[in-house]
Symmetry: C2
């Protein structure tokens, strides 16, 4: 089944079940008031949500048109957002890791950072930046929403806790990354609100596109209508989502509704932008710039600025957007 | 007024109003089902909570005995926990900053890290450690729970967003701090579940003990019945709570129910443990060990181990514990 959260007159929005083709939806309010409430009591409530999903897909109930512009993030605010680094290709490019001691360490244990989760952005929300020159970038990732996991879980416990899968844009302010890391307290100002696709999908609904704890789909990114990348999220995975969950629970339990990100999706290749229609490209601008520096001696691709538009979609059968599109425009904060 | 959350058959517990002397409490369920719900609609709901508090303190309603052993953290799970570094004395001691470039930078802008907030510990919950040799430490802090704050707020907006004040223990696994910082992604494994005092208190109830955006009370720490410290939270404050809120909102808004920590309370002095009944001492073990290394050439005070007990209380008039005691025992995770 596919779930989304519509804007409503309360912070956690209105939980809806969405049809497989994303054309219609129906309120799940009689089952659970919010996605968090559903996750808190998943074993008891998810069969009723699944039944509603079947009725909607069979046309037994008509529901209402599903308008992506009306969605909040599936969890508009979450109790936890942890972002991992599952694709070494991304780290190698943005951190110049190749052959370093850090690369060795980071290929044994995945890196994780604690992200802000109090104000997650919906798929069509603007990306609001307080200043123009912060080197705004997107980062295209897979995300899973999980049930409760105890401290030091087995891989089986971690895998069976995965409730929903979606994609996200881990918005990054590259100009502030160096300051954050120099301070030693980790990412903070450089990682403002992360954005999520309109719907989150149960693993069983993804069929063989979800196997080995990873999503086997290309995720396509366009900036102002130009293709920047379409790396396959199932390729060149160094740490899968279960690796990341197990690592996250090394010294603590994880609460129901925790969101775990895969890290920026990156496939190995040596090309630069622009890419052809069948090219792989990049899941963030910083990687493209690193490749350009290596090839041309300088970065050519600009970071995002107010007015730019980023569109991100995981592409399934017949070119369909599986989770709906993240489609955001950059806006400057009004003083 | 004083608010607490009692253990109940749901993740967010049962909101109660607690009498000023912490002897009795009464359910606030008819006003708000949880503290988060109260914070989401504070302007409308807090007058009713305050009225209930007045009735309880006047004896117009009898309520029930308030048992600190029955409490969860005021917010058992929060959408955000941000910890700052407001006391330079702590950073100077644990990071050997004195006279460094980092000290200069960190005295201009406060450090902040994003903490895990999905599973916050109650005042009497055990501190569960997965291994014995992780150099377990406590960190005694002031914490404020705030309403929503926009990106780039004024100091006035930040100050007026402070809803509740309490104290907390930012539990730290020192052995993992170096790994976390080496990785560059910030604290993660080294900062398991943070613990909170039984009650959170509105600033007006604290009277002149809350002024200039800081708590003017000594916070007393005992380990296994021995006094380790009683630094005054209002003394040697380099960044106050409003400084920390403003800094936290540099690139993003902050959601209602965000908790901000002051950083480990530290007063300037050159003494070592043991301290006398009128001594100042330390708000964490790492600082005591640094002072010992400087004076004796080696650290004498051990980190915590299973079976150890930590008791933390902010001391008000007539020696009374203003927020109730954090009183935790260290327990090893059962395999």
């Amino acid at each position: 089944m596919k779930l989304a959260t519509l804007r409503a007159n309360r912070p956690d929005g209105q939980l809806v079940v969405v049809s497989h083709d994303l054309s219609r939806c129906v309120s799940a309010g009689r089952i659970a008031p919010s996605l968090q409430a559903a996750l808190d009591d998943w074993d008891r409530l998810s069969p009723a949500l699944a039944a509603l999903s079947t009725q909607l897909d069979k046309g037994e109930i008509s529901g209402q048109p599903f308008e992506p512009s009306a969605v909040l993030a599936p969890l508009p605010r979450a109790f936890q957002w942890i972002d991992g680094a599952g694709y070494m290709g991304h780290l190698e490019r943005v951190r110049s890791l190749k052959g370093s001691k850090d690369e060795e360490l980071q290929s044994v244990r995945p890196l994780l950072y604690q992200g802000g989760s109090d104000s997650l952005s919906g798929a069509s929300d603007p990306i609001v930046v307080p200043e123009d020159d912060l080197a705004l970038d997107f980062e295209v990732e897979v995300a899973v929403i999980i049930g409760a996991v105890p401290m030091r879980p087995s891989r089986e416990q971690a895998a069976s806790a995965i409730r929903l899968v979606t994609i996200c844009n881990d918005v990054s302010l590259r100009r502030l990354v160096a300051d954050d890391l120099q301070n030693g307290f980790g990412f903070f100002h450089s990682k403002p609100s992360t954005s999520f696709a309109p719907v989150a999908v149960t693993p069983d609904t993804l069929g063989d596109r979800w196997r080995d704890n990873r999503l086997h789909l290309p995720v396509r990114v366009e900036v102002n209508g130009t293709l920047y990348g379409q790396p396959n999220a199932g390729v060149d995975v160094h740490f899968d989502l279960v690796d990341l969950i197990v690592e996250a629970a090394r010294t603590r339990q994880l609460g129901a509704g925790t969101i775990i990100g895969s890290g920026t999706i990156a496939n190995h290749h040596d090309a630069t932008l622009p890419i052809k229609e069948d090219g792989i490209g990049f899941g963030c601008i910083a990687e493209a710039r690193t490749a350009e520096k290596a090839k041309f001696g300088r970065a050519r691709t600009s970071f995002l600025k107010p007015g730019d538009r980023v569109r991100i979609a995981a592409i399934g059968t017949a070119g369909r957007s599986v989770f709906g599109d993240i489609d955001q425009t950059v806006v400057a904060l009004r003083p």
